[in-house]
Symmetry: C2
Subunit: 345 residues, 2 copies
């Protein structure tokens, strides 16, 4: 039997935990009932977790509980957390990667603390200048990787080039049959547009572009992030965070208005009956829970951050993401890409 | 009789011009058939324009044509345009503001050239550090002013404070009965978040906040640009351009998918019949043509840039915007706000 994919889960972080965590695990186990190539390490209060697992009738065949005494609170700042968090579910979850008992960590807890202690415990990969937070966005053809989403407010050209290598490694681990097409987010598509840092990054990415690592598609504007012309979008953490949240806000504005529209009159209510299945498909495609999970890249081990406010289904999708990332050999893909960078740069 | 609101229109700029320009003027004249407090100065080829006005049966009561020999092409760069554009419809359109024959200029032509020659001809207002391009976004309660949308890639705290004063003056000129609530776009709402420039701007805006000029609402995240909690959103031109275009791209992605959904089966097609009027209202609210027109602020005269690719209805909305801006005394509002800045800063 080959080595199992082992996922460390912080069972206590985020809203409505551990309930949503265990319900999410339940969905994952049911969907993977015929596979046994994975194992889950659950970090949290053993008494609570054991009782809830029993209530949900979850067998302990594919998981075990590692008892931890406390939880990182949402108010904790990254600075104080370094001192205070050694007994927490989050800390021990990530530490299990160093101990060799887990391949990847997943938490829905405090983002700032997770980034700081992940970096502290796992440490940066030797050739990476800055780690980055990557997210998944739907596009017209499937899915984009977008990074950085907020780990680094200010970035130079070397950081952005690293992000291109990290993001395309992630894309390859998730979609082994597709090629990563990298674009650099800018305010125009012409070479003369943008900041000096972007112009320098453009030149470097152009010279690094090749069939094995990534194909550089040039600049991309905000209008085309979701067009599907590229599947890895590179930007600094400030811009990426603004773009992500603006897209979320716009989607909410439109769907709120659509909902209001479709329920305001008796005729439009009748229309819902006729379009029920189509609208359900539409809603499913845009369901943010399907894209739940930001991936912290560039450390000696991958860490996935689930939205704190997601529900059981959203948490299930982030477990599934962890499974795919390890199965797709993310760390090996990153190492290969960074070697390429080192040789050519 | 009091002085009329005089709008200078570049009749030759943008796709499908002068046809869409004249059709847009036609809509404006029909909607304002009972008012005679405005006059339109049309700049372009007199022979072509006269013939088309006759074809459309537009009377010359509220407009006149000023003959110009050439047109700024879309390929022209701002640098060469300074030399080449003195005979163009765009140049003469803006110049009429200096000559005192127009109160505001409107063009659907080359954006880069428009910004450069507007600045050259009209010159910056004495107390403004950088002029800014402002746009209108729909929100849950009505409308936002967002600036800068791309005139200035890099901005310091004084530029951003100026944008707050300029944007709230614009908001007051469009909505004389409402108070402007200013927010600063950032990646978090806590005071400690963001770049050093944003932190310095935050402090300055907080100290300038008052009932007469604008009320400072603190930081805002991308998710809330369209929530309606603020109506003036301040950011640098790089971030603003990325946010605007990402919102446009997201809206397109969602509405394209919705369209596909509602036409994919016979049942969903029937549903459209029942929800026709509601969906039309939904579509109307999101119609980008209603928000057509970016306003170049901070010069000794306002200039409005229409989307080059809009149609007659979109161009009508930008004429209407010009009319409201002059009626709301934008330049006086800006002067008042800048005096406040000067006294308190």
């Amino acid at each position: 039997m080959s080595k199992k994919i082992t996922i460390a889960i912080d069972a206590m972080g985020g809203e409505n935990s551990p309930d949503k965590i265990l319900n999410g695990i339940n969905i994952f186990l049911k969907k993977n009932i015929n596979t046994d190539d994975f194992f889950l390490n659950l970090f949290g209060d053993k008494d609570i977790l054991e009782k809830k697992l029993k209530d949900l009738n979850i067998s302990s065949k594919s998981l075990r509980i590692i008892n931890t005494k406390s939880v990182v609170s949402d108010d904790e700042t990254p600075l104080t957390a370094i001192k205070n968090s050694k007994d927490t579910s989050m800390w021990n979850c990530i530490k299990s990667q160093i101990d060799g008992t887990s391949d990847i960590s997943l938490s829905a807890g405090n983002t700032g603390v997770l980034l700081v202690i992940s970096r502290m415990i796992l440490k940066m990969m030797p050739k990476v200048s800055k780690p980055a937070l990557a997210g998944l966005w739907p596009n017209q053809k499937g899915l984009n990787v977008v990074l950085d989403l907020g780990a680094n407010i200010e970035c130079n050209e070397n950081n952005l080039v690293d992000f291109a290598e990290l993001g395309s490694a992630l894309y390859k681990s998730l979609y082994p049959d597709n090629k990563p097409y990298v674009s650099l987010l800018n305010i125009g598509s012409e070479e003369i547009k943008g900041t000096e840092t972007l112009k320098k990054t453009f030149k470097k990415l152009k010279s690094l572009s090749n069939e094995n690592n990534f194909i550089f598609n040039g600049y991309i504007e905000g209008t085309n992030i979701m067009s599907g012309e590229s599947n890895v979008i590179v930007t600094d953490g400030f811009t990426g965070n603004i773009a992500l949240k603006t897209a979320e806000g716009t989607a909410k504005f439109i769907t709120d208005n659509l909902k209001k529209t479709l329920t305001e009159s008796i005729f439009s209510k009748i229309s819902i009956i006729f379009s029920y299945f189509s609208l359900k498909k539409f809603k499913d495609k845009l369901d943010p829970r399907k894209y739940n999970g930001a991936i912290f890249l560039g450390l000696n081990g991958p860490v996935v951050k689930s939205h704190g406010s997601t529900d059981a289904l959203g948490f299930y999708y982030s477990i599934d993401l962890c499974y795919k990332i390890v199965k797709g050999n993310l760390i090996k893909q990153i190492t290969n890409n960074l070697n390429h960078l080192n040789n050519d740069n």
